[in-house]
């Protein structure tokens, strides 16, 4: 019998702010953080809106130990957000790490503390790169490679490359919190968070760690990453005068593309017996985890099979491994990106697994509120699911008016008896992930 694994701390970081409290409040109140982009001038892109975390709500220099403040200069935006999410998760779980008190005994011995943070393709800052390239231009506006090689490249800071390696998210977090156990960086677009949390669970089950900082973070709110999403045809076209907060409508027949959010976050995944020994109160138990690959007709996974087969396989394995039946599932958190062909595959998968019951299991959608956080999306989903189990409450849903055969339409939040929540995600590329989260009954 393998070790039971629970979630003891939530550190989502979203456009609503840092930590579970602002996210959950917005979810319950049915608010969206999507607004016109102010990080760069979005004129020239088909989509001009996103869910951005403002500087008033988050300053990375305030969440790192004083001794680490200098290192924030070599952090890209994704790393900053990962560091912020990790600080929130560690605090929420009541863990003492090196960052909390460098002189105290850590709650989890450093070699037993792991770290799995999903990441995306981190885009280099165009201003930083262009400023350097500009120094090596020819008269005709091309780059003079001879000049670049002999001196132009010296206009790039020596650590430039290290800023943008996807594993720098986990690297900074492991240094700050002294996680010396297994650490990984999984890069599978929207499935990255789920695969990372699943790997933490397996690492703990096989005894290689007692707890992990786990999740995923991404910010595609920059011109280069935004351009790639536009090229991939995933963004909703905006600019026809409608409210930015109403554009994302997952599973609606009028869904027409996703909107990028920045963030994701970190959760603390911990062995149940370790949590019990330190008298921590878990939010939820990770009952199962499954990963599959969909068949992608276009090979590269912008399209996935419309019958939802690969996604359904992941859900079915997750149900089996959790020793639950389809009838035990009280709510479902899909990716719900509002990209029509992806919604279609997710919808088909739910119907394939749950049959006639599909129409009556409430979905929880997060993308209309916090945007699609890409590699971070699954952490937002897991954090909301864990909080719903703890609060015994279904958050509100917004925007979706006509859902085809699913309980996905707009509605207010309500109290609900929740014992099992299914969280699943597809991804650009065809990797799928599914979990069953179970309610943890308090002994007291």
């Amino acid at each position: 019998m393998s070790r039971r694994v629970v979630i003891t701390g939530l550190g989502p970081i979203t456009a609503f702010g840092v930590g579970i409290e602002p996210l959950w409040r917005a979810m319950v109140e049915g608010r969206s953080a999507i607004a016109r982009i102010d990080r760069f001038d979005p004129c020239g892109f088909v989509c001009k809106i996103a869910a951005q975390l403002s500087a008033e709500l988050f300053d990375v220099r305030k969440v790192v130990p004083r001794s680490y403040r200098k290192a924030t200069k070599v952090m890209c935006r994704d790393t900053e957000l990962a560091v912020g999410g990790a600080a929130a998760a560690v605090e929420d779980a009541g863990l003492v790490t090196k960052a909390v008190d460098p002189d105290a005994e850590p709650t989890i011995a450093s070699p037993r503390l792991g770290c799995h943070i999903g990441a995306g393709l981190v885009a280099a800052d165009v201003n930083e790169l262009a400023a350097a390239l500009w120094t090596s231009r020819t008269d005709s506006g091309e780059l003079d490679l001879r000049h670049w090689g002999s001196s132009g490249m010296e206009n790039l800071t020596p650590l430039w490359l290290l800023k943008y390696l996807p594993n720098m998210l986990a690297c900074h977090v492991t240094i700050i919190h002294d996680c010396q156990g297994p650490s990984n960086t999984i890069t599978c677009c929207e499935a990255s968070s789920g695969l990372s949390i699943g790997e933490s669970m397996r690492v703990i089950q096989r005894g290689a760690a007692d707890a992990c900082l786990s999740g995923g973070v991404e910010s595609k709110v920059n011109p280069m990453a935004f351009l790639r999403q536009q090229f991939a045809g995933r963004l909703a076209t905006t600019g026809n005068g409608e409210s930015p907060q109403e554009v994302v409508r997952p599973f609606d027949v009028a869904a027409r593309g996703t909107i990028i959010g920045e963030g994701g976050g970190i959760v603390i995944v911990e062995a149940l017996e370790v949590a019990e020994n330190r008298r921590a109160t878990p939010y939820a138990e990770l009952l199962s985890f499954a990963s599959t690959q969909s068949h992608c007709p276009d090979t590269i996974g912008l399209e996935i099979e419309s019958d939802g087969r690969g996604v359904a396989d992941a859900i079915e394995i997750a149900l089996q491994q959790a020793e639950t039946n389809a009838t035990d599932i009280d709510a479902i958190v899909p990716l719900g990106s509002s990209i029509p062909c992806v919604d279609q595959a997710e919808s088909a998968a739910i119907k394939r697994v749950f049959g006639p019951r599909a129409a009556s299991i409430p979905l929880i959608t997060t993308v209309p509120n916090a945007g699609n956080c890409n590699a971070g999306a699954g952490t937002v989903a897991v954090a909301v699911a864990a909080m719903a189990l703890k609060a015994q409450m279904l958050p509100a849903r917004i925007n979706c008016e006509v859902a085809d055969g699913l309980d996905a339409g707009a509605c207010s939040s309500r109290n609900a008896a929740l014992s099992h929540i299914l969280v699943f995600s597809t991804s650009q590329g065809g990797q799928n992930v599914a979990f069953v989260l179970g309610r943890v009954m308090s002994d007291e």
């Binding site: 290290l162 351009l227 992608c296």
Partner: protein
């Protein structure tokens, strides 16, 4: 107090690689044993004025020869092209194409693949065209317009690091657990280790694993030069990748892919496949020290090795009746930077004690360069070939021993040896350390 039955054994049933020293198992192995260097001047772009203008490149390679329907992969980036060729070799060696009733849902994939390659020429034109010197910033609307006109959408989409996974899944009908990890230079070792765990816990019967990467492009080479990680030598470029030598001054970039087919032993035997070797240990740790430096005590690498040895049930200080250590060869990370080779040597001494000088260690990076995310997979394959051929690949260019580095690095000439158990180390920028132990297959 465990009453569990022992977990399933995991074996390798197929291997393939696309490397700077060739495109098939035998020719690359011959070149390694002959101490051949794959380093040449960079041909991908005009690097003439770059402080480092050479690398070990994959040459004369056409991935379409390995595919039944190349049109399915028309958008494959260079790293994906490498992986498709390597995977085809491994898949065929494992005879999986002929496996009756193979259920795609029980076949998974876990790669440690790097990102694809930016269309740098177009990108630079876009940046220069939209730079506003008065604002000291990009004019973003102009940038977006120029990018829309000049950049190839497919090349941009194809840079996501999960793209090789998606292409391989399509080519081989894979529907099981699917992952890509990107822990810099440790990625493919970590991918193989985690793929073994997926098999051991029963979530799949077969895993396609390994890595693929190229950073031999303008920004990749620039990035490593700025980090002062690359060897600079100007004399004979085939001699400047010199791990463990006193004059070592950095690594030489390589590129390519290594793919292995991993399988539970029961599954392999049930379909009459031939196990080539068994993976018996995996360890993974983080340095948690600095983003640029390894911990000077080698604590992270040593801990990863110890974890792998524990999993394999091997006492590093034990000897057999002939006084032989329990590990017969270490494929070092051995990048040829001052720091790596010193810390790695220290870690080996810390773990193996009196056994350390008796264990031959070599770095194939001296010949193939550093394949970055793909390095670990290629080096694991070299370990398996060492077991098959009872021969150790050398560390070439080791002409001036470093007095501080006093272990047996198999200098310059391949060596015949009795080899049954090998250990392969990979360390990534940012502090990820991963170790695999592979053993000759015995029933």
């Amino acid at each position: 107090m465990s009453t569990q039955t022992s977990p399933p054994r995991v074996v390798i049933t197929g291997m393939g690689w696309i490397t700077p020293l060739g495109h098939d198992l035998q020719s690359v192995w011959s070149n390694l044993i002959n101490g051949q260097s794959g380093v040449t001047q960079i041909e991908r772009f005009d690097a003439a004025t770059f402080p480092t203008s050479f690398a070990a490149q994959v040459r004369d390679y056409d991935f379409r020869e390995y595919l039944r329907d190349p049109a399915l992969h028309k958008h494959a980036a260079v790293n994906t092209q490498f992986a498709l060729g390597a995977a085809r070799q491994a898949w065929d060696q494992a005879c999986l194409g002929a496996a009756p009733g193979l259920d795609g849902r029980r076949v998974g994939i876990y790669l440690g693949a790097g990102e694809g390659v930016l269309d740098f020429d177009a990108y630079a034109r876009v940046d220069i065209a939209s730079w506003d010197p008065e604002q000291d910033a990009i004019d973003t609307p102009r940038w977006a317009q120029a990018a829309g006109e000049l950049m190839d959408p497919w090349r941009e989409i194809g840079q996501e690091p999960n793209m090789p996974v998606s292409h391989l899944a399509r080519e081989f009908g894979i529907r099981g657990p699917a992952y890509n990890c990107l822990t810099a230079c440790a990625a493919s070792t970590q991918a193989i280790g985690e793929a073994c765990d997926i098999l051991r816990r029963g979530d799949a019967d077969v895993m396609v694993s390994g890595g693929t990467h190229t950073m031999i492009h303008v920004l990749g080479v620039t990035g490593f030069i700025r980090l002062t990680a690359l060897s600079k030598g100007t004399d004979d470029i085939t001699r400047v990748s010199r791990p463990f030598d006193r004059r070592r001054s950095g690594f030489v970039m390589g590129e390519g892919s290594g793919i292995v087919i991993l399988e539970t032993l029961d599954h392999a035997l049930a379909r009459d496949a031939t196990p080539i070797a068994e993976i018996i240990g995996y360890g993974s740790t983080a340095d948690a020290f600095r983003i640029t430096d390894m911990h000077p005590d080698g604590r992270g690498p040593a801990a990863a090795v110890i974890e792998a040895l524990n999993q394999a049930g091997i006492d590093p200080r034990a000897t057999d009746d002939d006084g032989r250590p329990p590990i017969h060869y270490i494929s070092a990370h051995g990048t040829g930077t001052q720091e790596n080779d010193a810390v790695e040597t220290l870690a080996i001494k810390r773990v193996f004690g009196d056994n350390a000088p008796k264990i031959p260690i070599s770095s194939t990076k001296s010949m193939m360069g550093h394949l970055i995310a793909a390095a670990g997979a290629v080096e694991l394959i070299a370990c398996v070939l060492a077991i098959q051929h009872q021969m150790l690949p050398p560390t070439i260019n080791l002409r001036e021993p470093d007095p501080e580095l006093d272990l047996d690095y198999v200098p310059n000439k391949a060596r015949r040896a009795k080899v049954d158990v090998c250990l392969s180390d990979s360390f990534g920028f940012g502090g990820q350390n991963d170790t695999l132990i592979v053993r000759r297959y015995e029933a």
